[in-house]
């Protein structure tokens, strides 16, 4: 099968014929049952590899009574205990800095990145030279599916630091022989300069977060530039659910006149584009031959049937430095069978990854994902582009308040009408009564990274959240 082996061996000079829709036609369009047989073989190899090299896995599996050779079906694989993020943190505290799940010699480590550590000790990612090449090849292949081609200029407008999003987009762009423009983001004044560089260089593609793209359009207009004039053809996003939320996607497509494509799982799982859409396919395809994705019941961690919702569990099939085997992500989505509009036979998350277990708000017994509120608001005329969700408990009942900015274009007299429209639409969508409040345009700071829009005032919530994270 095209370059599919363990450990992966890619030919860095390989390109498909320029007219080909697929980078690896066979791997991408094969019969799913046949692919699953190959995945099973790969899972056993990855497990054996990790078992021999990583005390972390050896001890974890020994305690669970699991041996790699016992995995004879994908159902057997569901017996392998999941890895939690807190286990990774503990392993690194025990064995600094990369944890006892590093499976390569220290001298093979090429790159160090990590989590932001906003909720405690950060986790370091150690990526080997061999893995970096693999990641470039994986991402180039998925970016090819998005419609990117050699020679296209790719503006990467996300911060270059610990965050793997920008680096992963760069690695793919380089392998694809695009012109990479790693502009970054995050420092004062960068957005205005980014807008001018877009106008000057007219890249074919843009990478960032959906909320940043919308903010950047506002900044561009303030600078006298029309975002449609940038001539972007493709905008691909990760870090937030927006690009799979129809209203947000349409708003970005309308603003820039470009095709919006969603992708991305999490930093630990780099090549994180392994869940990624294509030019023809909305939502996220699960490129199962790169990372094996299972949508699972959040209690049993067994796969749910196609058509059902669950939480994603990820397994690397091509990483050799810190392979993740059944990493519990907390990501929430539902999956369906392929093939997709583009002809690829992978399973699909048609609405992308629309939340995390820890993002989910439970209001009067209903589960609410913040992304759903964003989706509704983006369909409402007069919405100014930013909002906050406030959860509080005044008396016995939770209260959900949505504070929305009015658009510059509507007059103050129209605010009550906007308030009613927001209240009705969000209540209908969530199935939970909400209270809407309109605030002035520009009330909330814009972000060049992931938007954080939920304010939970309930004391109780801390307790609930800790329970949910297990």
């Amino acid at each position: 099968m095209e370059s599919w082996s363990w450990p992966p061996q890619y030919d860095d000079g390989y390109f498909p014929p320029s007219g080909s829709r697929y980078w690896f036609p066979r791997r991408e369009t094969m019969d799913p049952a046949e692919r699953e047989q190959a995945i099973l073989q790969r899972l056993r190899e990855v497990m054996q590899y990790a078992y021999e090299r990583a005390p972390f896995y050896r001890e974890k599996w020994r305690a669970a009574g699991v041996v790699p050779a016992d995995v004879r079906t994908l159902a057997d694989f569901e017996q392998v205990p999941v890895v939690t993020k807190s286990e990774l943190r503990e392993a690194q505290a025990r064995c600094e800095p990369f944890g006892d799940y590093l499976c390569v010699e220290d001298s093979e480590v090429m790159r160090v990145h990590g989590t932001s550590g906003t909720t405690g000790r950060p986790t370091a990612f150690a990526i080997s030279r061999h893995d970096w090449r693999t990641i470039g090849n994986n991402h180039a292949r998925i970016m090819w599916a998005m419609g990117l081609r050699p020679g296209d200029m790719v503006m990467i407008a996300a911060v270059f630091s610990l965050y793997m999003g920008s680096w992963g987009a760069l690695a793919g762009s380089e392998r694809l022989h695009c012109k990479s423009f790693p502009f970054g983001a995050g420092a004062a004044g960068m957005s205005a300069r980014c807008a001018h560089w877009l106008a000057l260089t007219k890249p074919a593609a843009f990478y960032g977060t959906p909320s940043y793209a919308l903010y950047l359009a506002e900044v561009a207009r303030e600078e006298g530039l029309d975002p449609r004039g940038f001539g972007l053809r493709i905008m691909f996003f990760s870090g937030e659910p927006g690009a799979s939320v129809p209203a947000t996607r349409e708003r970005i497509e309308e603003t820039y006149g470009a095709r919006v494509i969603d992708c991305g799982t999490m930093g630990e799982m780099t090549p994180w584009m392994s869940a990624g859409g294509s030019f023809e396919t909305r939502g996220l395809m699960l490129w199962q031959d790169i990372v094996y994705h299972e949508v699972c019941d959040p209690e049993s961690y067994r796969r749910v049937p196609y058509g059902s919702r669950g939480t994603l569990v990820y397994t690397h099939l091509e990483r050799t430095s810190q392979p993740m085997i059944r990493l519990a992500s907390g990501d929430v989505s539902h999956w369906v069978e392929g093939p997709s509009a583009c002809g690829r036979t992978y399973p699909v998350l048609p609405d992308g990854i629309y939340g995390r277990v820890d993002d989910m708000i439970t209001v009067r017994g209903e589960n609410v994902f913040p992304a759903a509120v964003d989706a509704v608001l983006n369909r409402i005329d007069g919405y100014g582009g930013e909002h906050r969700i406030i959860v509080s408990r005044e008396a016995a009942m939770d209260e959900l308040i949505v504070r929305v900015e009015a658009a510059q274009s509507i007059s103050r007299d129209d605010w009550p009408g906007l308030e009613s429209r927001v209240q009705a639409a969000v209540t209908r969508e969530l199935g939970v009564r909400v209270k809407a409040e309109v605030v002035a345009p520009g009330t909330y700071p814009r972000t060049d990274f992931k938007a954080r829009r939920v304010i939970d005032d309930r004391r109780l919530f801390d307790h609930l959240a800790s329970r949910k994270q297990g």
Copy 2:
């Protein structure tokens, strides 16, 4: 000669023996006269290459009556007219986006970076795939001289965006098979996190700007971390003169317990490490076989003798995408002959690049470089680490005011004493009477990039500055 050809062809697998002081022993320690003969040959090749491909050079040289074949001596080369930054800007306005000095096919461009454009239209850098490899090889070689070795972890703490500093350090670190930790800088809260990651991962080396390193040490202490506890062995800097200013260098070395090494020319000249110190050699060696550096009279643009001060003129000997041939930098320094303490036979800028023609302040007829003030202050007890230089003209005479922060450790009663010490020391160093004023600790914002410390209030100055830039 070791891998020395036009266009350059490097073996990406090459490493010197681990005990070797030199990456390319012959190129680095050869007789300077013999090296100059080889440089002359290379200059003719580069000129011929650019002449055939770049209308920019062809027309410029035709107007000056210069033909590549006429260059028979290094003195002949001084007749080649210098390129100014404004000519590059004009060429890009005329021929968007990369200018008619791009010497490769558009499809070979791999990376786009550029100037910040704070003073008008920015200039875009187009770097080919071939050049990116060359840059990595050049920088790896110079970083080897700094004492870096495969497997060392390198923390890169400068913003990843247009700025070539961080990217050049990364390219060298990757080629040298170091563990690159491209942390970046510039966004809110990054410095505190950087300090914690330094404590956690204990890299061998640090790259950034000198003023950022001093700021980061302050932040680290606020976070309860001792900078000496990071265990850094090597700190290499560019972007500011500080690392070649003895007092600043000593202050950083004392703070971190690491060796401080200076390097760097300008973004357009990437591989910008071509002026770079080594573990044994202070100041900047001019790695003439990578970039040919001339220290010139700022009027005639002919070389000044060793021992004299002048402005630097740079010529790429290994870049094929946008080769710069006699780029007038405005950088000011003086040069001396080698060999250096490390045995390399290159010419040296013993005090680094201590200013730019456009940074120079003329006060009552004396030329003052802001870096000299920084140098003096760093030797004074009670100095709080940040200052501003204010030039004003109250009556007929220019006035130079140096506002210095007091250290946290000294009491308010000691401020008058500090004021006198500063006034005496700076006056003595500059040969110009200055007025010192002490301000509270923490008055001035710290920077994670290049410090800007001069405030010129004189109306007249705009005129002078424009004349100087010619």
